[in-house]
């Protein structure tokens, strides 16, 4: 009797789960060339993907460079330019929302990682990237400079992603990436 009940329940659950209640919308056929993106099988590719996605304002590729547990830390010395506590609780979701706002605000973005220092142990990597970026909107142009330190790890699919990003201001004449992000939060 118990065995029959169990079989009946399992069949019911399979039938239940095959119902077409969760049908997504139909997608249009693509027309646009994709921005350059490679499978992140080493940490350098992640940084390259991030650079390309930011320049091409491609939120999908940008978002895929970050791990689920991602955290961003702004430079504490930026506190005089931004709202107090703005860098608190900056996780992947916040990073995505901020990037969408930046991509919508600026019509042209150029980003250069000038120099980098790498330290990789095979399962974790640290990148120190000096950057310069040029952001153009309808009514203004902003130049930002700074140092970004990225900490990357391997996920269960053996793909690399950024788990921690610390931003530092290195030139007092220019704003840094953290300030631009904070102003968009």
């Amino acid at each position: 009797m118990v065995f029959k009940t169990v079989i009946a329940i399992i069949i019911f659950m399979f039938l239940f789960s095959s119902c077409d209640w969760f049908k997504p919308r139909e997608a249009e056929k693509p027309w646009k060339e994709e921005s350059e993106w490679q499978e992140p099988v080493n940490p350098s590719i992640v940084i390259s993907n991030l650079e390309n996605a930011f320049e091409d304002r491609n939120i999908v590729n940008y978002e895929s460079s970050f791990a689920l547990s991602f955290i961003f830390y702004g430079d504490p010395s930026d506190s005089q330019y931004v709202e107090p506590g703005i860098f608190n609780d900056w996780d992947k979701e916040v990073e995505k929302e901020v990037a969408i706002l930046i991509f919508n605000t600026f019509s042209n973005i150029q980003l250069y990682f000038e120099d980098s220092l790498k330290d990789s142990t095979g399962i974790a990597a640290n990148f120190y990237e000096l950057y310069t970026m040029n952001l153009e909107s309808i009514d203004s142009t902003i130049i930002a400079k700074g140092l970004a330190t990225f900490q990357l790890t391997l996920d269960s699919s053996n793909l690399w992603s950024i788990v921690e990003w610390k931003d530092f201001r290195i030139d007092s004449s220019f704003v840094d990436w953290g300030i631009i992000k904070a102003k968009s939060r």
């Binding site: 997504p24 142990t121 095979g122």
Partner: protein, 588 residues
């Protein structure tokens, strides 16, 4: 290190003073030190719980930390102290003086700054009965920001605030609390009003509860090129009910919703800005649990969510809906074994009325998990799990739909534990995973990844003073494009990259006395990576690390514990470095 020792000595003096007169009371001191490659950090905390003597009470805690990064030539230090001095002349009235002081320093090659904050709160707690208390208070606040490099900046922001909180508690039914507060400082202002209410009541088989909260906060503060203002009003609430039918069917229904309106204005300065952001959401949850008999139970979770975000300019408006169904079934044939099956279906839809860089999208998540478990008393057991999860992301518009991809993961895992008390402990783990990444539209980016992992540990427990153990872990992975073959009409896997990760570790825990143990260990890690791609240049690389570790643990009944962990990491390629972790905790 010299600075560290000086700091420890400086801090040890007040800690010593505090410990001696209060040694009969419970208190705790903790010290942590961590060094990894080029980064060193330490922190120490001291905590004294509330001490009461006659009509007076005292509570305090202190924290200090430092972090140094050699590569960046950067050092950050932070410290703060809090104490509460109370005077309780009668059961209906208490006076508290609360002081919190903090300091943060940042020193880098071309940057030096310091932020000091000081808050003194004087409050009186007026207790009219068990169900009502009112707390009027004054707050004296002083913020000081100073920078030496680059350029000298000195900003002081002293001020005074006053507020009142009230708490109304109807025992076992409801609780309502509210706060009114205003703070005026020389360069910033804040006003806030908060009301919170909660209720929870049982009526035989039915339980009803909820929370409601309303906030209204206005802040004004200067920025480098002007003055900003932020106004926030929000309300959120949850209502739930839980009831039981015929002692078999338990139902939980809940609704939670929120409204939030945040208005940001740049009052003065360049490029005046005004942003009005509104968010609200509704979330409905239903859980049903049905016990057919003591061995068989069914669970069903249904969830529906809708949310709206709108902004002043309308450019970033977002509408979202999420609906999910998760049935689960559990069967226990006997006391030692269990079979569980769970299915999850979730469809998330996001729509953007004015898309610029983001487009409408749907995300469909499907998963099923089958778990079987067989356990014997004493820790011996066997577990097997089968899992299939898929995540299909669908961008609706054609400018993004080239990214539409379905990621499917298949996973089989087994755990075998064998444990004989005082003799041997064996743990064996095996997992096989396959990932398919299939794009909806023809693309060269389809990918297949497969992975095989085996983890084994053995502990020999039948020696008196030492416990040797050995473990290894091997993970083999390969991945490459998974493309449609026009010759066969099927998808084929073209292996292009493969990796092998091996870890071998040998550890011996030596415990000559009950409260002291030292554990030497040797670990060898090797990662091998090979590019088999015929198109690009073939390459093979290997990275080996040797870890030599020593761990010391000292702890006795007087609540003093010391952990010391040193690992020397030798790398075949790259510089060697060491990791040191120390933890000291002392409670009286």
């Amino acid at each position: 290190m010299k600075n560290l020792l000086i700091t420890i000595s400086i801090f040890a003096i007040p800690v010593g003073i505090l410990f001696s007169p209060l040694k009969l009371f419970p208190s705790q001191y903790q010290f942590f030190f961590h060094h990894y490659n080029d980064i060193s950090s330490y922190s120490q905390t001291f905590f004294l719980p509330t001490q009461t003597k006659n009509m007076f009470s005292l509570r305090m805690d202190a924290f200090q930390s430092s972090n140094k990064n050699v590569t960046l030539s950067k050092e950050e230090t932070a410290s703060n102290i809090f104490f509460n001095l109370g005077f309780n002349p009668s059961s209906n009235i208490t006076f508290n003086i609360k002081e919190r002081a903090s300091s943060n320093n940042l020193n880098a090659e071309n940057f030096e700054s310091r932020i000091v904050r000081n808050e003194l709160r004087i409050e009186s707690i007026l207790k009219y009965s068990d169900w009502l208390n009112i707390i009027p208070y004054f707050l004296f606040s002083n913020d000081h920001y100073s920078r030496q490099l680059p350029g000298s900046v000195d900003i002081r922001n002293p001020g005074m605030g006053k507020g009142i909180t009230a708490n109304f508690d109807i025992k076992d039914v409801a609780n309502i609390s509210s706060e009114l507060f205003s703070l005026e400082q020389s360069i910033s202002n804040e006003k806030r009003g908060i009301v919170m209410g909660s209720f929870d009541k049982d009526y035989s088989n039915v339980r009803i509860g909820g929370n409601l909260e309303g906030r209204n906060i206005l802040t004004q503060y200067p920025i480098l090129n002007g003055e900003e203002e932020k106004f926030l009003e929000s309300a959120k609430g949850i209502v739930f009910t839980e009831f039981n039918l015929f002692n078999r069917l338990t139902t939980y229904l809940s609704y939670d919703g929120s409204i939030r309106n945040e208005i940001y204005s740049l009052l003065s300065g360049y490029a005046a800005k005004h942003n009005n952001e509104k968010k609200n959401h509704n979330n409905y949850t239903q859980n049903l649990t049905y016990s057919l008999n003591p061995r068989i139970s069914l669970d069903l979770n249904i969830n529906s969510y809708d949310g709206i975000k709108t902004f002043q300019d309308g450019l970033n408006d977002e509408y979202s809906t999420v609906k999910s169904v998760a049935p689960a079934f559990s069967f226990k044939p006997n006391k030692s074994s269990e079979i569980k099956f769970k299915r999850i279906l979730r469809l998330s839809s996001f729509s953007f009325p004015n898309p610029l860089t983001v487009t409408d999208r749907d995300i469909l998540d499907k998963s099923f998990v089958l778990l079987t478990k067989y356990t014997l008393p004493g820790g011996t057991g066997l577990a097997l799990s089968l899992m299939r999860t898929s995540n299909h992301i669908i961008y609706i518009k054609n400018e993004m739909s080239a990214n539409n991809v379905n990621r499917t993961k298949y996973n089989i895992e087994t755990d075998i534990n064998y444990f004989v008390q005082q003799k041997i402990k064996i743990e064996e783990h095996f997992s096989l995973t396959a990932n398919y990444q299939i794009y909806d539209f023809p693309s060269e980016r389809n990918l297949f990844t497969r992975s095989l992992s085996n983890h084994f540990e053995i502990y020999i427990l039948n020696f008196h003073f030492f416990e040797p153990s050995f473990r290894y872990k091997i993970t083999l992975q390969d991945w490459g494009p998974y493309l449609l073959s026009y010759e066969t009409g099927d998808y084929l896997y073209y292996r292009s990259l493969e990796s092998k990760k091996e870890t071998y570790s040998m550890t011996t825990k030596i415990c000559p006395i009950s409260y002291f143990a030292f554990t030497p260990s040797v670990t060898i890690k090797r990662n091998t990576f090979a590019n088999l791609n015929q198109v690009t240049e073939k390459q093979k690389s290997s990275l080996t690390e040797e870890h030599y570790g020593l761990k010391l643990t000292y702890g006795n009944d007087s609540n003093m514990k010391i952990n010391f962990d040193l690992t020397w990491i030798r790398r075949i390629a790259g510089d060697d470095f060491y990791e040191l972790k120390t933890k000291l905790s002392y409670g009286v």
